[in-house]
Symmetry: C3
Subunit: 153 residues, 3 copies
C-alpha cells in the first residue's frame, strides 16, 4: 500500500472506479511530464450524478460535496493512468465549472470541496492553480465539472 | 498529398481558410512539442457564423454540425501552423463551450460533432481529453466555441 | 529598472500587489518552461472588485477596464513568480470568462482590454492564443476573470 493509498484510507476515502467517458473522447492522456484528465462531472461512488444549479436549489454544502466527488474522480483517472498516485509531482491546474444562477457568487467555496480534498490526499503536491466560474448548465445536469492537468514523474 | 489530406478528401471534407482572429490575439502558438490553438467559433466554409442557443431554438443536430465546423477550423489553424497535419502526434485537449439554456444537458452529444470528426480525420492521434460545458453566450452569437492543445512532432 | 518595468512606467501603469487567492489554491506554479497563473478576477489597484454582468448593466468600456485589471493582476502574479517579467518568452494562452447576459455577443471586445495591455507591456512576447466566453456568473460577482499560461526562460 503506497503512502497515498494509506492517506486515502486514513481519510476514510475510497477511490471510485475511474468513470468511463460519456462520449467519444478519452479520460486521460500522458504527454511528457504532463497528464491531462478530461472534465469529471460530479458523480458519487454509486454512479449517481449530483445534479442541479447553485443559487437555484443546490446549497453551497451540496456543491462542495459535488466538487469533492469530481476530485475523487480526477484521482481515480490519475490512478488508472499512472498506476500509483505517488507519481504525481504536482496538480498544476484545475478548472472548476459550477452550474450557477446568474446571481450566484460563491464559486470559490464550492470548488474548495475539490481543492481541500486534493491537498488532504496529496499534501503539497495537491496544491494547484485554478479557475472557478459559473456556467449556464453542465452535461447530465451535473452541478459541478472539473478538469485537471497534473505534472508527473 | 499527405495521408491525412487523402483522408480528408475521402471523407468529403475540405479545410476552410484558417479564420483570422476577431480581435487582438494570434490564432496559434508553438511551444516545444505543444501547439496551442485559440478558441474557434462555429463558422462554416462560407464564413457564416452558426448562431443561437442549444435548448432555446438550436437543435442537437445543428449543434453537432456547428461543433464539426469548429473542429475543421481547429485543423485549418493546425495546418497553417504546422504545414502538414501529419505532424500532429495527439490532440491533447479540447475545451468545448456550448451556448446553452439553463436546462440543456446534452453538451456531450454536441461536442461529439468535433470529437468524431477529429478521430475520423486523424485516427488514434485524434483521440483527446476534453471538457464540455454550457455557457451563457459566445462571441458573435456563435452556438459553439472550441479551443485545443495539440502534441506535435 | 528592467526594460519592461520602464515600459510599464511609460504607459503610466503600476502593477498591483499580487492578489492573494480567495480560497485554497496557489496563485501560480512553475513547471519546466511553463508558468500557470490562477484565474484573476477584475480587481483594481485599491482592491475593489469590478462587478456585474455584461449586457445587463455593465458597458463594453467598463468590461474592457475590468479585463485590463485582470491582465495587470496576471502580470503581478508573473512578477511574483519570476522576479523579472523579462523572463516571459510568450504569453501562450489566455482564457477570458465574461459574466454575460444570454444575448451578449461582444466578449472579444471586452477581453481585448487584457490582450491590448499585454501586447503594450510585453511587445511580441505578449501576443497570445485565447478563448473568450460568456459565463453565467463569476466569483465575488466579478464581471471578468482571466487565467493564463506563460512560456518562460
Amino acid at each position: 500500500m503506497s503512502a497515498i493509498d494509506q492517506r486515502l484510507a486514513e481519510l476514510g476515502l475510497k477511490l471510485p472506479e475511474a468513470p468511463q467517458p460519456v462520449a467519444n473522447y478519452v479520460p486521460y492522456l500522458l504527454s511528457g511530464d504532463q497528464l491531462f484528465v478530461s472534465g469529471q462531472v460530479a458523480k458519487d461512488g454509486m454512479g449517481t450524478i449530483l445534479t442541479g444549479t447553485l443559487g437555484a436549489g443546490v446549497s453551497i454544502e451540496e456543491g462542495q460535496e459535488a466538487a469533492r466527488h469530481c476530485a475523487l474522480n480526477l484521482l481515480a483517472q490519475a490512478k488508472a493512468a499512472l498506476g500509483d498516485l505517488s507519481r504525481i509531482v504536482q496538480v498544476l491546474r484545475l478548472t472548476g465549472f459550477v452550474a450557477s444562477a446568474p446571481d450566484f457568487t460563491d464559486h470559490p467555496k464550492v470548488i474548495n470541496g475539490a481543492s481541500d480534498l486534493l491537498v488532504a490526499v496529496l499534501g503539497d503536491a495537491g496544491r494547484h492553480t485554478r479557475s472557478a466560474v459559473g456556467v449556464a448548465s453542465l452535461p447530465l445536469n451535473a452541478c459541478v465539472e472539473i478538469d485537471a492537468i497534473f505534472k508527473i514523474r
